[in-house]
């Protein structure tokens, strides 16, 4: 399909006659205007749609938690408080991996 053929296709399609508005179209719209804003029809959303909608919030919440944990770890390390991994090492050395075994 070359450019010239595509242009001819567009040119032909441009000539199509659109449907004529029904005679009472304006009156119908005016009636809808007077009724006020129509209630939005509930749209059924799939699980993926819902995840898509929630993704930015979930990503923000997860990022906040990660940043808070990093800041907390940095702060506690700087303050000299033993970290969780130190506690685990101590526990395993004292209780689990003693020379006498379990």
């Amino acid at each position: 399909m070359n450019d010239r053929k595509l242009k001819r296709l567009f040119a032909s399609a441009r000539l199509e006659t659109p449907p004529a508005p029904p005679g009472d179209f304006a009156a119908d719209v005016l009636r809808a205007v007077r009724r006020g804003p129509p209630a939005a029809a509930p749209e059924s959303l799939s699980v993926f749609d819902q995840l898509n909608l929630w993704f930015p919030r979930l990503a923000l919440a997860a990022s906040t938690v990660i940043v808070l944990c990093c800041a907390l770890d940095y702060g506690l390390t700087a303050a000299g408080v033993p970290s969780l991994s130190d506690g685990v090492s101590q526990l395993s050395a004292q209780w689990l991996l003693t020379p006498a075994g379990l």
Binding site: M1, R4, K5, L6, R8, L9, F10, S12, A13, R14, L15, E16, T17, P18, P19, A20, P21, P22, F25, A26, A27, D28, V29, L30, A32, V33, R34, P37, P38
Partner: protein, 209 residues
């Protein structure tokens, strides 16, 4: 050439007023509507309904759906009348609303696309598509049906850009205003969309053999 095309699209068929007169009359009508004359909105609808139907028909071939979309367009215009500042003609502002309604409609339809069967193409369209004859012509209806089928391969945004540019003769600036994008982004999108459309047409020609 482009200017002629724009002139052709600027005035809807059957409208006798020139654009300056229409704009001035629209301004008077809008003034009265804002003053509380709700009934005058019907006159505004009657003036512009053909144009709105023509725009929406480029995106939806079902006449009933076109009517629903046209109603949605005018309702949105009604609710947003306070935001219309009158710097551009009302017709342009309304056309932008119609294009956005069409874009939303295409996005919803895209989600349901797998559930909807593809429209049947006539033999004329397929013969024309496969023909190497540079001078063969295709009737308007078949051309529109063929484009509709090929455009289903495009994203809704690509489709709006290519339709506004090629079928409605809109400027890049107008398309950018509807899409909320820069002129450069619109040009790039239009170029890619045209390429995808060409591929889709080639695919149709091969698949339907």
């Amino acid at each position: 050439m482009a200017e002629n095309r724009n002139r052709e699209f600027a005035q809807p068929a059957g409208q006798n007023l020139n654009s300056t007169e229409t704009a001035s009359n629209d301004a008077e009508l809008l003034e009265r509507i804002r003053g509380g004359a709700t009934d005058d909105f019907a006159e505004l609808i009657r003036r512009h309904q053909s144009r709105v139907f023509a725009i929406l028909h480029r995106y939806e071939r079902d006449a009933h759906k076109v009517e629903d979309l046209a109603q949605e367009t005018f309702l949105k215009a009604w609710r947003a009348l306070g935001q219309f500042d009158g710097r551009a003609p009302f017709e342009h502002w309304l056309s932008r609303i119609a294009a956005r309604v069409a874009l939303d409609h295409l996005r919803k339809e895209k989600r349901r696309q797998n559930e909807i069967g593809l429209p049947e193409l006539g033999d004329d369209a397929l013969d024309w598509l496969r023909s190497d004859d540079e001078k063969s012509e295709l009737d308007a209806r078949s051309a529109a049906e063929l484009l509709e089928l090929a455009m289903r391969e495009l994203s809704p945004a690509d489709r709006v850009v290519i339709t506004m540019q090629e079928l409605e003769g809109r400027s890049v600036k107008e398309i950018a205003a509807v899409m909320g994008a820069s002129g450069v982004a619109v040009r790039v999108r239009a170029m890619r969309a045209r390429s995808k459309l060409r591929q889709a047409l080639e695919k149709i020609a091969k698949e339907k053999l």
